[in-house]
C-alpha cells in the first residue's frame, strides 16, 4: 500500500474517531449549561410551532428541527446543500481569482519589493477574518441603500436564495481562500521564474505568454491544488459564523443553534459533516505537493 492510499485511508478513520469522541463528550458538556436561543427574535414561540400542530409544547425547543419546524433529516440534507453551494462557489472563485492575482503579483514583482513584500501583504490580508469582511459588506450595502433614501437595497444583506442572496456570503467566505491561493501561487511562480530554464527560455527569445503557459504553469499547477485545499479549509472554519451572520441556515448555522438548544444529535452530525469536508481538503492539500509557504522567507 503506498503513501497516497494511506493518507486517503486516514480521512474516514479521522471522521469515525471524531464521531466517537463527540458522541462521548458533547452530551456531557451540554448538560453543564442551560439551553438558550442564540438569535434574538427567533425564540421557540408558538408561531414557530404553528406547522407542528398542537402536540408540541410551546416555548420549548427539543432540537434544531423544532426551531425551524422541518423534519430533522430534511433540515440536515437541505442545509448541507446550502453549505455546499457556498463552498463550491468559494472554490471556483479562489481558483479563478486567486490564480490570476497570484500570477499578476509574481509578474509585477519588482526589485523594490524584494524579499517577502508580497508574502507580507498577503499575510496581512489573511489576517482579516471572513466575518469582518461579512460585516463590512453588509454595512456598505446598507449604507449605499440608505444614501439613496429608498427602502430597497442594492443587494439582500441576509437570507437564503440561489440568486443575488449568494453574492455577499460568497464574497465573504471566499476572501481567505482567494488570498491564500494568490499567496501560494505568487510564491511558487516567483521561484519558478527565477529558475535557470526560464532564464534560458527568455534568452532564446520565447514570448512571455508561451513561456508562462508551456514552461512555468505546469510547475505551478500542483501548488494551486494545494493552495485550494488549504484556503478552503479556512473557508470551512469560518462557515458557521458566516452562515450565522447572513442567516444562510447552512450546516454551520445548524451546528451553532444546536449548541443553543441542547440538540446533541444535530450538533454531532453537523460537526462531523464539517470535519469530513475539512479532512478531505487536508488530504488533498497534503497529497498535491510539497509545502512552499515558508521557502521564500
Amino acid at each position: 500500500m503506498n503513501a497516497t492510499a494511506l493518507r486517503l485511508l486516514r480521512v474516514p478513520l479521522t471522521i469515525a474517531a471524531i464521531w466517537v469522541v463527540l458522541a462521548a463528550v458533547v452530551p456531557a458538556l451540554m448538560s453543564k449549561y442551560l439551553p438558550y436561543v442564540m438569535r434574538p427574535g427567533f425564540a421557540c414561540s408558538k408561531t414557530a410551532f404553528a406547522s407542528q400542530g398542537a402536540e408540541q409544547p410551546a416555548g420549548l425547543c427539543a432540537g434544531v428541527a423544532d426551531l425551524y419546524g422541518i423534519p430533522f433529516a430534511d433540515l440536515l440534507v437541505d442545509s448541507m446543500f446550502r453549505s455546499l453551494a457556498l463552498l463550491v462557489g468559494a472554490a471556483a472563485l479562489a481558483l479563478v481569482l486567486g490564480t490570476l492575482l497570484g500570477v499578476l503579483a509574481a509578474l509585477l514583482r519588482r526589485r523594490a519589493w524584494a524579499g517577502g513584500g508580497i508574502v507580507g501583504i498577503t499575510t496581512l490580508l489573511t489576517a482579516v477574518p471572513a466575518f469582518f469582511v461579512a460585516y463590512f459588506l453588509q454595512i456598505v450595502v446598507i449604507l449605499i441603500g440608505a444614501s439613496a433614501m429608498t427602502r430597497d437595497r442594492l443587494l439582500p444583506v441576509y437570507g437564503f436564495g440561489y440568486d443575488e442572496h449568494l453574492i455577499l456570503p460568497l464574497l465573504s467566505i471566499s476572501v481567505p481562500a482567494i488570498v491564500f491561493t494568490a499567496q501560494l501561487t505568487a510564491t511558487r511562480m516567483a521561484e519558478v521564474l527565477q529558475s535557470d530554464f526560464v532564464t534560458a527560455a527568455r534568452a532564446k527569445g520565447l514570448r512571455t505568454s508561451a513561456l508562462l503557459l508551456v514552461h512555468v504553469f505546469p510547475h505551478v499547477r500542483p501548488v494551486i491544488l494545494e493552495a485550494l485545499g488549504s484556503g478552503l479549509r479556512v473557508s470551512v472554519a469560518s462557515l458557521p459564523i458566516i452562515e450565522y451572520l447572513f442567516l444562510w441556515r447552512g450546516i454551520g448555522q445548524i451546528a451553532l443553534e444546536a449548541i443553543g438548544v441542547h440538540d446533541a444529535a444535530g450538533f454531532i452530525f453537523s460537526a462531523v459533516v464539517l470535519a469530513a469536508v475539512f479532512s478531505t481538503l487536508s488530504a488533498i492539500a497534503d497529497l498535491s505537493g510539497p509545502r512552499a509557504v515558508y521557502r521564500s522567507t
Partner: protein, 774 residues
C-alpha cells in the same frame, strides 16, 4: 547591525505599541468605561460619531473609543497567552513525536482530530460549558488552546523533520554530539522563523476566535445586565435599553451587543470601532511575526538574547511612560485612605456633627400611638375576668383567656350597661345562599344554604346601648362530610356594633389555642389569632370607642354560670339538618361592666440633617442617608461611618449632606427640607455588619461606577449583576439617583470599606469626575 532592517523596526514599534496599549489603554482613553451618557437631547442611542463622542457610543451611551482602549488589556492578554500556549503545545507534541518515533502515530492522529473539528463550534461549546465567575479568562484560553494546537504542531513537525534530515544535522550526529545539544544548539535556531510566523498567526487566529464568540453573543466572562432606563427622563423606542456588560471587558463582547442584522443600520459604528481595533491589532501582530521571522531567518536568536540590553531598555521605557500617564483620579485613593483613617467608634452622633463643624438642623415629626394602659376587665355581678397585661408574645396554649380587640372602630374606655345575649348573631336574610354558579368543587359548603332556616338572632332583642354577648358560630357539618364554615369573627362583632351595641363580649372557644405568628405546624396545629390580625389590618385611631373583649370558654363560663346561660349547644359545629325552634337570644337582665383602658402616647421623632458648610450652593450634593432602627436607636455601624465622613467632609469641603433618619417619622419632612438643594446622588447605608459590600441601584449607569469605586478604594465588594427595579431598593428621595450600600457575605465589619468607598467617591467628585455631575 550592519544595515538597519526597516521591517524589524516596524515590528518593534508595533510590539511596543501593543504593550503600551495593554498596560495603559485604560488610562489614555478620553473617558472612563464607566462614563455613561444615558441621553443627549433627542438623539437616539447609540449616538453617531461626533454627536457626543468623536467615535460614537455603544448602545448604553459609553464612548466606543474609550471602551475599546479599556478593553485592550483583557483582549490582548487572552490572545497573547492563548497564541503562545498553542505554539508551545505544538512544539511540545512535535517534540514528543520526534523524540520517540512510535509516538508519532498517536500525535498525528490526535492532531488530525483536533484540526478537523471546526474551532468555532468547539470553542463555543467549551466556553458555554465551563465559563463561570472565577475562571473566565483561564477557560477561554483553555478553549482557544484545545481548538488550536494542531496547526502549529503540523507546521513545526514538518519543519523539524526537514531540519532533522539536513546535512548539518547528520554531520553533527556523526561527530557524536548529544541529542539535546543537537536540538538546542543546531536545530532550534532553524525553527525560529517558522515558530515566529506561526506564533503571530496563532495570536491572530485567537483574536478572530474571540471576536467570533463575541459575535455569537457568547461573552467570555460573567456579565452584568445593565438597564439605564431609570436614569432617563423619557423612554424612547429604539435600540435596547439594557445590555450585557461583561466583567472582563474585551472587544468580542462589544461586537455581541450589536449583532442583530435587523438593527445593523443603527449599530454600524458599534461594530466598526472594535472591529477596527481587531483589525489593527491583527495587522500589528502579523507585522511582528513577519519581522521576527525575517530577522531570525538569517540571524541566531542567541546573539540577540545575549545582547538583551535593548529589550531591557525598552521595558524600562515602558515603566517610565507609566509615570507620564498617571492613573485617573489617583488623588481620590488618598481620600479613601483618609476616610478609612477617620473611622472611629462614635457614641454621640450629634456631638460628632457639631465637633466637625457641620451645619445641623432637626426635622421633627410628632406621632401619636394608642396603647393599652392596663388589663381589660369584664365584670358581671360578682364574677369578673381580666386580660393578661402586658400581653405575652407568642403565648402557649391555654394562656390567653381574655383578649381585648383595639382597632379602628372599636376602642377603649369603660362601659356599664345591661347585658343582652344575642346568641350567635345569625341573621339568615343577610347571608343568602349562593347560586349554583359560584359553587365549585373542593370548596367548603355554602353557609348561606345551611342556615337558611335558622331563626334571626336579633329578632327579639334590642341591643342599642347595651353590652352584647355573642358566641362564635363555628359552622354546620354537611351530610357529605364537608363543612359550611361560620363567618369570620369580625363579621358578627362589627354587625353587633353597627346595630348600636355599646360594647361586645365575644365568646370564642378556640381563643386559648391561637398562635400569634399565624398558622403553624408542630405537634398541635394552631391557627393564627384572628383578632391580632384585625388590629393590624386597621390600627386604632382614637383612645375612646366601643370596647370589644373576646372570651374563651372558661372565662365565659366564669361570667355566665351564675346567670344560667348554657353555651354548650351553641358551641362547635351544628350537625346536619339541625332545626332551631327559636333563637337563644334574650335579655339577661343584669348589668355588665366592660373596661378596656387605653392611653395616647405622643412621641416626637427627630431626624437630623447635617450639611458640610462652605460648599457652593449650586454644587451638587451627595446625600448620605442612614436610618435608625425601629425604636429610633442609632445603629452603631452607620453612626461610625457618618461621623468619619463628617470629619473628612469638613476638612476637605466635600459636598456631603448627612441624614440621620428616624424611620418612625416619614421621609416627607426631610424631603421638604432638602428641596432647595441640587442633589446628585443619595447613598442609603444599610446593615454594614457583614463581610462584603453590595450595591443595589435602579440607575444602571451607576453600577459599573460603584464597582470601580469599591475596587479603587480597596473595599471588599460583591459585583453587582443586575439593575434593581425601583421597588426593590429604598428611595427616600424620589427622582434622585439612589444607591443602597448593603453588607453581604458572612458576618464581618463593612464600616471601613463603606467609609473608604464614599470618601473615594467624594474625592473623585472633587477632582472633577464627570459621571456623577450630570
Amino acid at each position: 547591525m550592519a544595515r538597519r532592517d526597516s521591517w524589524l523596526f516596524v515590528g518593534l514599534v508595533a510590539f511596543f505599541g501593543l504593550v503600551f496599549l495593554a498596560l495603559f489603554g485604560e488610562r489614555i482613553a478620553p473617558h472612563e468605561a464607566i462614563y455613561f451618557v444615558p441621553e443627549h437631547g433627542s438623539d437616539p442611542r447609540p449616538y453617531d460619531p461626533g454627536v457626543v463622542f468623536p467615535f460614537g457610543s455603544d448602545v448604553l451611551g459609553r464612548d466606543l473609543f474609550s471602551v475599546v482602549l479599556a478593553g485592550a488589556r483583557a483582549t490582548l492578554t487572552i490572545v497573547l497567552v492563548a497564541g503562545v500556549a498553542r505554539v508551545l503545545a505544538g512544539i511540545l507534541v512535535a517534540g514528543v513525536g520526534n523524540w520517540w518515533r512510535p509516538a508519532r502515530l498517536v500525535t498525528e492522529t490526535v492532531a488530525d482530530l483536533a484540526a478537523a473539528v471546526p474551532a468555532t463550534l468547539v470553542a463555543l461549546l467549551l466556553v458555554k460549558a465551563f465559563v463561570n465567575t472565577e475562571t473566565s479568562i483561564a477557560v477561554v484560553i483553555g478553549a482557544l488552546l484545545i481548538t488550536g494546537w494542531a496547526g502549529p504542531y503540523r507546521v513545526i513537525r514538518a519543519e523539524a523533520d526537514r531540519v532533522a534530515h539536513a546535512p548539518f544535522s547528520e554531520g553533527a550526529i556523526v561527530l557524536g554530539i548529544s541529542r539535546w545539544r543537537l536540538f538546542w544548539r543546531h536545530q532550534f535556531p532553524h525553527l525560529m522563523p517558522v515558530v515566529a510566523m506561526n506564533l503571530s498567526q496563532q495570536v491572530v487566529a485567537s483574536l478572530v476566535l474571540v471576536a467570533e464568540l463575541g459575535v455569537l453573543g457568547v461573552l467570555v466572562s460573567t456579565v452584568r445586565s445593565i438597564d439605564i432606563a431609570e436614569s432617563q427622563t423619557a423612554i424612547r423606542i429604539g435600540p435596547p435599553m439594557s445590555a450585557l456588560v461583561p466583567d472582563v471587558p474585551e472587544w468580542g463582547a462589544m461586537l455581541a451587543s450589536s449583532r442583530t442584522v435587523e438593527i445593523l443600520w443603527a449599530t454600524r459604528w458599534v461594530i466598526f470601532v472594535p472591529a477596527a481595533g481587531f483589525a489593527l491589532t491583527a495587522m500589528a501582530i502579523g507585522l511582528i511575526g513577519f519581522s521576527l521571522a525575517r530577522r531570525y531567518a538569517r540571524h541566531d536568536l542567541w546573539m540577540d538574547v545575549r545582547g538583551a540590553s535593548g529589550v531591557a531598555l525598552a521595558v524600562a521605557a515602558v515603566f517610565l511612560v507609566s509615570s507620564v500617564v498617571p492613573e485617573r483620579y489617583a488623588g481620590a485613593r488618598e481620600w479613601a485612605s483618609a476616610g478609612r483613617a477617620a473611622l472611629a467608634p462614635t457614641s454621640d452622633l450629634s456631638r460628632a456633627f457639631d465637633d466637625a463643624g457641620l451645619r445641623t438642623y432637626e426635622v421633627r415629626r410628632e406621632v401619636s400611638t394608642i396603647a393599652r394602659s392596663g388589663p381589660a376587665t369584664v365584670t358581671i355581678g360578682d364574677a369578673s375576668v381580666a386580660e393578661l397585661f402586658p400581653r405575652p408574645i407568642d403565648p402557649a396554649v391555654n394562656t390567653i383567656q381574655v383578649q381585648s380587640v383595639v382597632r379602628s372602630g372599636t376602642g377603649g374606655g369603660l362601659v356599664e350597661a345591661p347585658l343582652v345575649f344575642a346568641s350567635r348573631g345569625i341573621v339568615p336574610s343577610e347571608r343568602p345562599a349562593l347560586t349554583q354558579f359560584y359553587l365549585r368543587r373542593n370548596r367548603p359548603a355554602d353557609l348561606g344554604a345551611a342556615i337558611k332556616d335558622y331563626p334571626d338572632d336579633y329578632a327579639g332583642i334590642d341591643v342599642r346601648g347595651k353590652v352584647v354577648l355573642l358566641v362564635r358560630f363555628q359552622g354546620v357539618t354537611q351530610p357529605d362530610f364537608n363543612y359550611a364554615y361560620g363567618p369570620h369573627p369580625e363579621d358578627p362583632i362589627l354587625s353587633a356594633l353597627d346595630r348600636g351595641a355599646a360594647a361586645v363580649l365575644f365568646v370564642d372557644p378556640e381563643l386559648n389555642s391561637y398562635n400569634d405568628a399565624g398558622p403553624s405546624g408542630g405537634l398541635v396545629r394552631r391557627a393564627g389569632n384572628p383578632y391580632l390580625a384585625m388590629e393590624q389590618r386597621e390600627p386604632p385611631v382614637s383612645a375612646s370607642g366601643k370596647p370589644v373583649v373576646v372570651l374563651d370558654r372558661g372565662a365565659a363560663e366564669t361570667l355566665l354560670a351564675p346567670l344560667g346561660v348554657d353555651l354548650d349547644p351553641l358551641l362547635g359545629f351544628d350537625p346536619p339538618g339541625k332545626v332551631w325552634e327559636r333563637s337563644a337570644s334574650r335579655d339577661l337582665g343584669v348589668r355588665a361592666r366592660v373596661h378596656v383602658p387605653l392611653r395616647v402616647d405622643t412621641a416626637t421623632f427627630r431626624s437630623v440633617i447635617a450639611e458640610v458648610p462652605g460648599v457652593l450652593s449650586d454644587a451638587g450634593r451627595v446625600v448620605v442617608w442612614a436610618e435608625r432602627d425601629n425604636r429610633g436607636e442609632r445603629i452603631a455601624a452607620r453612626t461610625d461611618v457618618l461621623a468619619a465622613l463628617a470629619r473628612l467632609g469638613t476638612e476637605r469641603r466635600a459636598p456631603f449632606t448627612f441624614v440621620d433618619f428616624d424611620p418612625r417619622a416619614d421621609a416627607k419632612a426631610v424631603r421638604e427640607a432638602l428641596q432647595g438643594q441640587r442633589i446628585l446622588l443619595v447613598l442609603v447605608l444599610e446593615h454594614l455588619d457583614q463581610d462584603e459590600l453590595r450595591f443595589d441601584t435602579a440607575n444602571g449607569d451607576l453600577i459599573p461606577a460603584f464597582d470601580l469605586y469599591a475596587q479603587k478604594a480597596g473595599a471588599r465588594y460583591e459585583v453587582t449583576r443586575q439593575t434593581a427595579t425601583a421597588g426593590q431598593i429604598p428611595t427616600p428621595l424620589a427622582d434622585r439617583k439612589t444607591v443602597a450600600i448593603r453588607g453581604t457575605g458572612g458576618p464581618g465589619d463593612g464600616r471601613a470599606d463603606a467609609t473608604a468607598l464614599i470618601a473615594y467617591l467624594a474625592g473623585r467628585l472633587a477632582l472633577g469626575a464627570p459621571e456623577l455631575g450630570r
